[in-house]
């Protein structure tokens, strides 16, 4: 700081150097060990605290070539804050290089600026004995700092001066919150001053912030500001003290005062009686039936000495809702109150709990739902497994044809008697009740009963189902594994080997019973070197027929046809082959043995079979029509034998007709394939009677026909002739 003041002096000297008209002196001003050279007429600046003294020594050295005489002491004009000392001996004559010294003292009585002038008259005599009067002149400017302290509260921004030993009083402050005040240290004097220390002497609730690096200069008219914080930790009065020190002058003490305040919420349940509850406590809501709603009103009163703010109200827990809440944030003045309403709508029977959280105050909510509540469990591998929506009842892996049983325990965990009217599995499937349950079942609270369940898989792999207990659904899961092999089977009704062409009845039987119902398909196909006969069909039409074998029985059932199905073996030589496939009726799991037997029926190449004979009279005789079949699809001859009526003589009554050409033509014709080996032969005969007016047909008694092929002759077929 002295460096600064010295610089002021030097600057003044520079500024006023031009004002000196003569340069007879070299002037050096020394102050506090620092010396500076100034011109004659320069201004010297002094800055000192009020009441303190500042002295500058002036040494003027004659730089002329004559002599210089000083007869009188320096004269001071101006402010009395300045004083000047007189040289030791006067008059004094200075030769070139000789000096004269004196001191200037500045002691301000107030902080106002002081001006003065020091004049030292002299006479200079040159070598020519010419004498000239002159003066050594210095202008003096004195300044002094003056500090005052004030503060500004955040709440009102007013500047409040603090008299010496005065007090900075904070607004009442909510505990654990921070109030702050700006502390201004203002330099109201004419000169710069230094603050050397700002110290919180006492007061734990107070803190100083924004304090600069000290010491620090405060120029005239400016202020240094620091911030004082007040954070009460408890309600009541707090005090403290700040000391401010300067480079000159006495320190300033600022007393600090504050009052910690707080809000205090008190909770009460408004019922017929008012019941207080503290955070952590339990708020009981009235019991209510499932789906119905009960409410409780909670009053929140501020019994503290500061307004309290309700920033948040949260309600958690199934069935609990904040029904009526104040607008948030809600400021509650001291001794004021607000209310909120909690609603309870239970979704199940029993005690439900939740939480009410007001700001950080937490309460337990508790309500009791009135109603029935069923819980389900079962025992697997010695452990009780509780069933819920996400946990189905798992049956053990079970082979198709087998069953797994399980007892599902149903317990009423509700608060009222449960009346169970209906227990059953949803839709048809592998899950079923092992035995019927007598309903309704009245189940008191905490009572239980068991549902016997059975799982009878019909398919391989996992399958899901559901058990309904009134409106409760219990998911069921099981897995089926492959069934045991089906017993061997055999065909019944007809034996393998040669069969007479025509319809036969075929059945199918297991060699032993099987535990589940079987569905199957019986298939017939023909194998022949001849064109296939489309008449090889089951009675139901086509070459396949479905059948079923009831559980624990042996014989196949062909729907309405019964235990045997009609089969046409056709009229073409070849092999009719029957085969069967089997599967479980439910689920369709294949049961067909790897080497399932087939039944082969042989329609042998045989002589023709005649089925019908018609004799139709014509104008010239008769036409004989014979129907039949030949499994070889060949015919060679047809033999017709006429038996005349008694008394009629017929010279030639037996005729053999070659059919090979017509037979070959017919059986090669594609249209013949629709009839297999069937044929209809029509042969006209001319027949004349010797009796006038008598038709030829009238002469006939009977007609007998046989038809042959390479194998042999058919049976004879005969008919009586009706004219």
């Amino acid at each position: 700081m002295r460096t600064s003041r010295f610089a002021q002096i030097a600057a003044a000297g520079v500024l006023l150097a031009a004002a000196a008209s003569a340069q007879q002196f070299r002037i050096v001003v020394t102050q506090a060990g620092n010396a500076v050279s100034v011109q004659n007429g320069a201004q010297l600046t002094f800055n000192s605290a009020v009441g303190s003294s500042l002295t500058a020594s002036v040494l003027a050295t004659y730089t002329g070539t004559g002599t210089l005489t000083i007869n009188n002491p320096p004269q001071l004009f101006g402010s009395t804050a300045f004083s000047v000392s007189s040289p030791a001996e006067l008059p004094v004559t200075l030769n070139p290089g000789a000096s004269i010294a004196f001191e200037i003292r500045y002691r301000p009585a107030n902080a106002s600026a002081a001006n003065a002038q020091v004049i030292l008259p002299f006479i200079e005599t040159t070598s020519t004995n010419t004498s000239t009067q002159g003066t050594l002149q210095l202008s003096l400017l004195g300044t002094a700092p003056s500090f005052s302290v004030s503060y500004i509260l955040q709440s009102d921004q007013n500047i409040v001066p603090i008299p010496p030993n005065g007090t900075l009083t904070f607004d009442p402050t909510v505990i654990n919150t921070v109030g702050q005040a700006a502390l201004n240290i203002s330099n109201l004097g004419s000169g710069s001053g230094n603050v050397t220390g700002i110290t919180l002497v006492s007061g734990d609730a107070f803190r100083l912030t924004r304090t600069p690096l000290l010491p620090t200069a405060v120029p005239s008219g400016q202020a240094l500001q620091v911030v004082v914080l007040y954070q009460p930790l408890r309600t009541g009065t707090d005090s403290g003290q700040i000391q401010i020190t300067f480079d000159s002058g006495p320190p300033v003490l600022v007393n600090l005062s504050g009052r910690g305040i707080s809000s205090r919420f008190v909770y009460e349940i408004l019922d017929s009686t008012i019941q207080g509850v503290v955070p952590g406590g339990t708020i009981e809501l009235p019991s209510v039936a499932i789906g119905q709603t009960s409410t409780v009103v909670i009053q929140i009163s501020n019994q503290g000495d500061s307004p309290g703010t309700i920033n948040s109200i949260n309600v958690t827990g199934t069935g609990f809702q904040a029904a009526i809440v104040p607008a948030l944030p809600q400021i509650v003045a001291p001794n004021a109150s607000v209310t909120l309403t909690i609603a309870f709508t239970p979704t199940r029977a029993g005690v439900l709990t939740g939480n009410l959280i007001v700001n950080s105050d937490r309460f337990v909510l508790s309500g009791r739902g009135l109603g029935t509540q069923l819980s389900f469990s079962y025992v697997a591998a010695g452990s009780t497994i509780t069933v819920d929506n996400n946990t189905p009842v798992f049956f053990p892996a079970t082979a198709i044809t087998q069953s797994s049983n399980l007892l599902l325990k149903v317990k009423n965990t509700g608060t009222l008697d449960a009346v169970i009217s209906n227990v059953g599995v949803q839709s048809e499937g592998p899950f079923a009740l092992a035995s019927p349950l007598q309903t309704p079942i009245i189940l008191a609270p905490e009572a239980e009963f068991q549902v016997p369940l059975v799982f009878t898989p019909t398919t391989v792999g996992f399958v899901n189902g559901a058990l309904r207990v009134d409106n409760n659904t219990v998911n069921l899961t099981g897995s089926g594994t492959r069934p045991p092999p089906m017993p061997s089977f055999s065909f019944t009704g007809v034996s393998a080997g040669n069969v007479t062409p025509g319809p036969v009845n075929v059945g199918l039987s297991l060699n032993s019973t099987y535990p589940v119902a079987i569905a199957g398909t019986l298939t017939v196909r023909s194998s022949s070197t001849l064109p296939a006969d489309p008449a090889v069909q089951f009675s139901t039409g086509g070459q396949t027929v479905r059948f079923s074998i009831p559980a624990n029985s042996r014989a196949a059932i062909f729907a309405a046809q019964g235990q045997q199905i009609g089969l046409q073996t056709g009229t073409v030589a070849g092999t009719v082959i029957l085969s069967a496939v089997f599967s479980t009726e439910s689920g369709g799991v294949d049961l067909t043995p790897a080497s399932a037997p087939t039944l082969e029926l042989t329609v042998a190449p045989a002589r023709p079979v005649l089925l019908s004979l018609q004799v139709a009279a014509t104008t010239s005789g008769v036409t004989i029509t014979v129907g039949g079949f030949a499994t070889t699809r060949t015919l060679t001859t047809m033999t017709v034998e006429f038996t005349p009526k008694p008394g009629v003589s017929m010279a030639n009554n037996r005729f053999t007709i070659d059919l090979r050409a017509t037979s070959s033509a017919w059986f090669r014709n594609v249209s013949s394939q629709a009839f297999g080996g069937q044929f209809s032969v029509g042969v006209p005969f001319s027949l004349q009677s010797s009796v006038a007016g008598q038709t030829g047909a009238a002469t006939l008694q009977t007609v007998s026909v046989t038809i042959s092929n390479e194998i042999g002759d058919s049976q004879a077929i005969q008919t009586t002739v009706i004219p």
Partner: protein, 333 residues
């Protein structure tokens, strides 16, 4: 003893050119399941039902011989030629409405048919078939004094008779329907024409459990023969038909609780020639060719056709119907 003149008769027989060899003549019937005329390919026992034809009717009936048929569609009566192929259907209803409940009785030559509507309580003759089809007058049961229970046309189509319940009478209708004459007081629930004698009809009286042969004249009818059955058949008698059996005539009757049985009588000796259990319920017997009767009833897809055949023996045959079985299969039956 009167002397007899014995004259030696000579006969000469020779096969002539023109032999034919083909498949059995198709037996044609109306299939109520497919509502079309269809043929039976082959002899029952070795046969199958031909696929349905495209021409669809509500009901129909094939004339004996199978050359033509009558059918009803949307209230109109059609003459169908070559019904196995449904090649040509000609509307002959002439503005009259025909219900789909009509039943039919044909003359043996197929030239005349009588239609009976029990629901409408009327009968109507169709004559001149197939070439000159002519509709006779529609005769209502009210005109006859009651409800018509049965109707039949004589073998050659010269006369039709109807039985009327409330009046317990039998009436004769001229071919054109313009002459209606009460010819008998007999009560009969069923009446069918004789297959061998003109103007003779077989009747069944369920109250007396007796069959009768009625000879119908222009103004009166005479009961030629009657016999009572007791243990031979079970009640009820549902339907009956006559047919030629060699030189004889047979009567087939369907009796008993469904499916019941079919009993075949020799009409000359009244002997029971055959008694066969039926695999299905039968409501009507229709002539099918010369040696079989169609056992007609309500058939379901996947079930065969059933036929009573008497050559070479009396037997009930199934005739597979793969076409309708395929439909049943596609419908998951």
């Amino acid at each position: 003893v009167q002397p007899r003149l014995v004259v030696a008769m000579l006969a000469a027989v020779l096969p002539v050119f023109g032999q034919t060899l083909n498949g059995p003549e198709p037996l044609v019937f109306f299939d109520g399941l497919s509502k079309s005329f269809r043929g039976i390919l082959g002899v029952p026992g070795y046969a199958s039902v031909a696929p349905p034809t495209q021409e669809i009717f509500d009901i129909g009936s094939v004339a004996p011989g199978g050359r033509h048929a009558l059918a009803i569609r949307e209230g109109n009566l059609f003459l169908v030629l070559d019904p196995a192929n449904a090649s040509k259907a000609t509307k002959i209803s002439d503005g009259l409405e025909f219900g789909s409940d009509a039943s039919w009785s044909w003359s043996a030559d197929g030239q005349t048919a009588v239609l009976l509507s029990k629901q409408g309580n009327w009968v109507q003759l169709v004559s001149g078939l197939p070439g000159e089809a002519k509709l006779g007058r529609r005769v209502s049961g009210a005109e006859l004094g009651g409800s018509i229970t049965a109707a039949a046309v004589s073998r050659k189509g010269l006369r039709a008779v109807v039985t009327v319940s409330e009046s317990a009478g039998i009436f004769s209708l001229g071919v054109d329907g313009d002459r209606v004459t009460r010819i008998a007081d007999d009560s009969a629930q069923l009446i069918v024409p004789s297959s061998s004698k003109d103007d003779e009809f077989m009747i069944w009286n369920s109250e007396s459990r007796s069959f009768g042969i009625l000879h119908a004249g222009d103004s009166a009818a005479a009961r030629v023969e009657s016999w009572t059955v007791s243990s031979e058949i079970e009640a009820p008698l549902l339907t009956m038909a006559t047919a030629r059996f060699g030189q004889s005539e047979i009567l087939a009757v369907v009796t008993g609780e469904a499916p019941g049985k079919v009993t075949v009588f020799d009409l000359t000796s009244h002997e029971v020639l055959a008694e066969l259990p039926l695999p299905v319920s039968v409501s009507a017997l229709s002539v099918l060719g010369s040696e079989s009767l169609l056992l007609d009833g309500t058939r379901q897809a996947g079930n065969p056709l059933w036929v009573l055949k008497w050559s070479p023996e009396f037997r009930v045959h199934f005739v597979p119907d793969s076409s309708m079985a395929a439909i049943a299969g596609s419908q998951g039956q």
